[in-house]
């Protein structure tokens, strides 16, 4: 596991997390354009996230601890999937965890 590989891995994770809301923003833009509306900014989902972080969380009275943990687990596994799939660089250190291409082949 080279330093370069590790760097590429970390960069890819950061890029995936930062760019994911932009993809949603772009889809929303396209949808708006197709419907002849003026589109929201590409950064609108990021603004939405910022707004949500300023709101209170409200839990139902009978919500269990599972309800609190599930979003983190889902987010973590999504980021893990993004980290394994080679999108910015090949031969990432983590890609070995799932169907790595052997150096011999």
């Amino acid at each position: 596991m080279s330093t370069f590989g590790l760097l590429a891995q970390v960069l890819e994770i950061i890029a995936a997390v930062l760019a994911a809301p932009l993809l949603l923003g772009w889809v929303n833009q396209c949808r708006a354009w197709l419907q002849n509306r003026s589109a929201p900014s590409l950064l609108q989902p990021w603004r939405g996230i910022r707004k949500l972080f300023h709101k209170d969380a409200v839990l139902a009275e009978n919500a269990s601890a599972l309800f609190r943990t599930a979003p983190y687990v889902v987010f973590g596994t999504m980021v893990l999937a993004a980290a394994i799939i080679p999108s910015m660089a090949m031969h990432l250190p983590l890609s070995i965890a799932a169907d790595w291409q052997s150096p011999r082949c």
Binding site: I13, F53, H54, D56, A57, V58, L59, A60, E61, N62, A63, S64, A65, L66, Y72, V73, F75, G76, T77, V79, L80, A83, L94, I96, A97, A98, D99, W100, Q101, S102, R104, C105
Partner: protein, 662 residues
């Protein structure tokens, strides 16, 4: 050495069982002393089996049994896998049972203890037997003791009925197995497995022996269409017994099939595998769609067992195909997937059955429509069951994923099969396995969600209590086994390789050098590192938690659930077990026999009722049962109840026989 130790452990189980009779009505003596001792014996058995993988096969002749028919016993790598499975599972189940059996359960606890430990010892004997005689003794001990365990609440007529069905199916199966051994022994009536290994079989007799064994063991394993006893017997039995039956007893049938096919017959024909594969795929599919529409939690798990047995037989079928066509490395891959799935299913299904047992004790309900919201009342049971649910749904990094992944990997290489027709059909099999895995996830969401999440559907559920300490330890042990089998696939496969080498002469080998990285396929392109998954996911989640805690003001309010302005939200508005299964019932309508009772519009107390039943039961078993009883009625003419008539029959028989002989 290890073999003698195993025999001592099985004898210890027998002794514990008999000791239960000493103070048969004392829950303290039986529950707090004997069952934990039994768990200890199980643990020792698991350790003993674990160390005997690497050793050469051991044989021993015990001078018990009939004159000239001593017990031949043998411990080899195949027995070791299943003994390990028996040991690990029974440790957890016995610990749970120690806290589970209480007063008023029908059979007195001491007698239950005897039946339970004889059941365990019988299964152990089946796994160690090296001749048909001791095998059948073990097999019948297992069948009869489990029959008594199933009917432990024999005052209820439906439980007696379930027990009877189980008993009949077990004996039809046993007959087929006996006939199969009869074909295999090759004429000299040496019933030892050693002589069977040496027998030269013609293709016809080999096929006959294989299909008799497949039928016999299939009836025990619950292979469709011989599965009908399973959804009846599992809910009827007390939960620890259901756990053992589903977790271990079904696997002894898999053991039997593997033993007969690869050890006693030796060189299987590839087309047998095709039939086993087709039966396995159909069982997997049939089991999972029926599991999706069940409303009784134990019946749901029983159908899910049929699904998993189907997956195991699919792997077995692939192994036979590959081995029959001389593709050793791929056969090893499929065999290891099969054995791994046996181990996995044993621990996870036992865990789930014990979880339902704890729920049943706490609430007295098996009906999913009367449960709900139990995660608040029974957090231990809920979280430990969640481990089993995630494992059986096949999610990494738990164990269910590993074996299903291995099975799908072995399907990926079916394009190397040199039969074009088979080659064309096998990808359909892979698709069916994938479908079943996805539907199994759906079933488990239903199982966990309806029991533990949401609002309680009955007021009485507010009094539910969590499992006792011993029960928690039992559940915890099995959950731990699920996690360990999921995280250490390389080590487990290292053990199973010995079995594969013994049966097939080929091993999977390990293409990667790291201890945490599984790379099982011949080309080396496929890999799986569960630790990497776990560690990186944990790191990311920790980082996310940290980021959220820094960015967020952490104000959390508790309020009533949002009801969309409808002011009276109650538990009846939640998704129910019927509602959750409805799409499956609709999509696969052709497979179910559905009866509906719909309310008329002006009904003041409307009732809506759906009964889903098994077409195979209606179409095959009911006519067959009717036929048997009609034939029996014909013979009943002979039964007059007068001793003179019976004496006459004996006399006539004697005369006829004499006439024949002279």
């Amino acid at each position: 050495m290890n073999l003698s130790f195993c025999i001592v452990l099985l004898a210890a189980w027998g002794a514990i069982g008999i000791a239960g009779l000493a103070r048969a009505r004392s829950i303290e003596f039986v529950g707090r002393l004997l069952f934990p001792l039994g768990a200890l014996v199980g643990f020792a058995l698991a350790l003993c089996a674990l160390t005997s993988f690497a050793l050469p096969p051991e044989q021993l002749v015990l001078p018990i049994g009939l004159p000239d028919l001593p017990f031949h016993l043998r411990l080899d790598a195949l027995s070791s896998v299943f003994l390990m499975l028996l040991g690990i599972t029974s440790t957890g189940v016995s610990l749970f049972a120690a806290g589970y059996f209480r007063k008023g359960e029908g059979t007195p606890p001491g007698l239950l203890c005897l039946q339970y430990h004889l059941f365990l010892a019988g299964m152990g004997l089946v796994l160690l037997a090296d001749d048909a005689y001791s095998f059948m003794v073990g097999w019948e001990t297992m069948a009869i003791s489990s029959y008594f365990l199933v009917v432990s609440q024999h005052r209820l007529p439906e439980i007696r009925r379930a027990g009877f069905l189980y008993f009949v199916m077990a004996h039809v199966g046993a007959l087929c197995i006996l006939l199969s051994f009869g074909v295999l022994q090759g004429g000299d009536w040496q019933l030892t497995f050693d002589s069977m290994r040496g027998t030269e079989l013609t293709p016809f007799t080999a096929s006959l022996a294989f299909f008799l064994a497949l039928t016999g063991f299939g009836a025990k394993a619950g292979l469709v269409p011989l599965h009908v006893w399973l959804p009846e017997a599992h809910p009827a039995a007390p939960s620890p017994v259901s756990a053992l039956m589903s977790g271990v007893m079904l696997k002894t049938a898999v053991y039997g099939v593997l033993r007969v096919t690869f050890d006693l017959i030796g060189d299987p024909a590839w087309w047998w595998g095709l039939i086993a594969l087709a039966l396995g795929l159909f069982s997997a599919f049939y089991g999972v769609i029926f599991a999706a529409v069940q409303t009784d939690m134990k019946r749901l798990l029983a159908w899910s067992s049929i699904e998993n047995i189907g997956v195991i037989f699919t792997g077995f079928g692939l192994t036979v195909i590959f081995q029959g066509l001389g593709m050793g490395a791929l056969a090893a891959l499929a065999l290891i997937a099969t054995l791994y799935h046996c181990l996995n299913h044993a621990v996870m299904k036992s865990l789930l059955f014990l979880g339902t047992g704890a729920v049943l004790h706490a609430t007295g309900q098996r009906n999913l429509g009367r449960l709900g919201g139990l995660i608040h009342r029974m957090p231990w049971v809920a979280w430990l069951t969640l481990v089993g649910v995630l494992a059986i749904a096949g999610l990494p990094p738990l164990n269910g994923f590993v074996s299903e992944w291995l099975l799908l990997q072995s399907f990926l290489f079916t394009d190397e099969v040199p039969r074009p027709f088979v080659n064309m059909l096998l990808p359909v099999g892979a698709a069916v396995v994938a479908l079943c895995a996805a539907l199994a996830g759906y079933v488990m969401v239903k199982f966990f969600g309806v029991i533990f999440l949401g609002q309680p559907r009955e007021a009485a559920l507010a009094d539910a209590h969590d499992a006792s300490l011993l029960e928690r330890i039992g559940l915890g042990w099995l959950a731990f086994a699920c996690i360990a089998l999921g995280l250490l696939p390389v080590q487990v496969i290292g053990l199973l390789d010995a079995t594969s080498f013994e049966l097939l002469g080929a091993t999977l080998g390990q293409r990667a050098t790291e201890w945490w990285l599984l790379a099982p396929t011949p080309t080396g392109a496929a890999s799986y590192g569960p630790f990497a998954f776990l560690v990186v996911a944990a790191l990311i989640i920790t980082a996310t938690l940290y980021a959220v805690s820094r960015l967020y003001h952490r104000r959390v309010r508790r309020g009533p659930a949002w009801d969309c302005g409808f002011a009276r939200l109650d538990s009846r508005m939640q998704d129910t077990a019927e509602g959750f299964g409805q799409p499956i019932r609709h999509i696969f309508a052709g497979f179910f026999a559905v009866e509906r009772e719909l309310p008329v519009p002006d009904d003041l107390a409307p009732r809506y009722r759906v009964t889903v039943s098994d077409r195979i039961w209606r179409g095959a078993y009911e006519p067959l049962g009717g036929l048997v009883s009609r034939v029996a009625d014909l013979f009943a003419v002979l039964q007059r109840g007068r001793i003179a008539a019976y004496l006459l029959f004996s006399f006539v028989t004697l005369l006829v026989l004499l006439a024949l002989v002279l």
